[in-house]
Symmetry: C2
Subunit: 338 residues, 2 copies
Amino acid sequence: MALKKIGEQTIKFENPPSIVSTATIVGPKEGEGPLKNYFDLILEDDKWGQESWEKCESKMQEEAVKLAISKGNLSEQDIEYLFSGDLLNQITTSSYCARQLGVPYFGLYGACSTMSESLSLGAMIIDGGFADKVACATSSHFSTAERQYRYPLEFGTQRPFSAQWTVTGAGASILSSEGGGPYITYITTGKIIDPGIKDVNNMGAAMAPAAIDTISIHFKDTGHTPDDYDLIITGDLGHVGKDIVVDFMKEQGYDISKVYTDCGIKIFDSKKQDTHAGGSGCGCSAVVFNGYIYNEMLNGNLNKVLLISTGALHSPTMTQQGESIPGIAHAVTISNEK
Amino acid sequence: MALKKIGEQTIKFENPPSIVSTATIVGPKEGEGPLKNYFDLILEDDKWGQESWEKCESKMQEEAVKLAISKGNLSEQDIEYLFSGDLLNQITTSSYCARQLGVPYFGLYGACSTMSESLSLGAMIIDGGFADKVACATSSHFSTAERQYRYPLEFGTQRPFSAQWTVTGAGASILSSEGGGPYITYITTGKIIDPGIKDVNNMGAAMAPAAIDTISIHFKDTGHTPDDYDLIITGDLGHVGKDIVVDFMKEQGYDISKVYTDCGIKIFDSKKQDTHAGGSGCGCSAVVFNGYIYNEMLNGNLNKVLLISTGALHSPTMTQQGESIPGIAHAVTISNEK
């Protein structure tokens, strides 16, 4: 068996990479939510001076990476690889961000699981001795995602209560072979689980089984229990998906309810902000992790966190052809101790 | 500096992963081309019994991975990670392939650079001690790509001579920590280079500068020269891009003309098959590498090859907004000796 692998799907790092800096940029609505004090920059309008929402999203991702680099007292030349992806067709946000940065680039697509996908690959590349510094980033934008995946915004379609609100936000982490933490100590990489959901307004239910699968395997592989964590947080299951996870994890013998929540629930006050089941999008777990969680780890309020970004690999082309929506979830353990 | 890095953008593997098996599945047109004897399966029709071209493409990728696994005398349970991507929106081909295989999955998007992107990441994960066996795969399909990126096929638009023909094909490689080669000995990961091309029928010119950048850096980082290689082969630049590469490499002091060609030129007889500038698509370098090159390495006709899959990170959304097409190219050295 490979040296660093434990159990079925988990890696335990020999020299856990340190997350030396992070940055977050969010839209106006996210900047009015409960986590507003944790973000580096709150945009006043959702185009940020650009001609289109797509160009705004790309600028957000680019500026988030640059800000994370400068917060880590580094320069762009120090970054050896950029791992990034997003929701837009051909991950155009990330490609244009990478064009501006001029860094060797691995484009990823994991839908809303991209933050933990990029952290997983970035951490392996550092622990494997291939790089000393990498950037991991992702983003989403309400207006680019809605018109691509669902309906034209002008159409003003009514949203069912299971629908989620795509977060306008970009987050970036800089990983280093040296540094004082927080550290990425374990990763558990997910398989695709497809519960057969075809409703594009119920992504929480489409992704929850993948989260349950990955969290259960993480516990089995590592021997960890819910008590080992200060916080277990999924990416963007919202209220619908969160309830499914709690119930099914209980059936598997794990009561995670005391330490578990979801980034999509944390980012909005869903009643006051009319976001129904909660936030979603790659940017959701990106800004909650790089804003709220990272800062609460630095100040010691959180010491060991399991982040499970969740992706609904939804393609309008395939749902129009009658296919269901596959889900995936990647878990990353972030700890203040190696 | 990171242990295994040499120069600016290159990794030299300590324990070069072995490519223990490969598989290729191609469409009818590719099966009539000059490389027809190198492919494992040639489809008689381009839907392969499926309801849509998209579902056919996904079946092609899935069956290519399964065939590569069985040719390596392995089972699906032996594969620890699948690295794959494709051209379709939300890399839907790869996601549905991964769903059927049930293997931990990293979704990638590098457009037509995906074969070397997946080999690069797969090789690092093995050399880094994180896995013993991984699968790297990609695919494309003429009919899915044309209608997504350009025009409805029924429209019958005239194609300029700079246009290329998207390959219908899927290729897969199984990498292992053990085995007798061919080995992946070096990788040089590309940056995005954008020469400002906006013509969606001239991808060769959009990608050539990225190939030139990556090949030059590979030579500088490793000290290799064109004489060190039996074959230097780009992914899908076609005739237009190939000529640009030869000319500009000469300006940089490297005459690669004696050992250099392009997968898009090899796969079709462009005059007889009316494919204009040549083949393209993720499947192009995937089937040329996993079919032709791999088998010629096994029988000793080729011993050291530099594969540079090239990607045009073209998004219809962004070209409609006036943006140019960014290019990227990742180089992989495959050698019969460690």
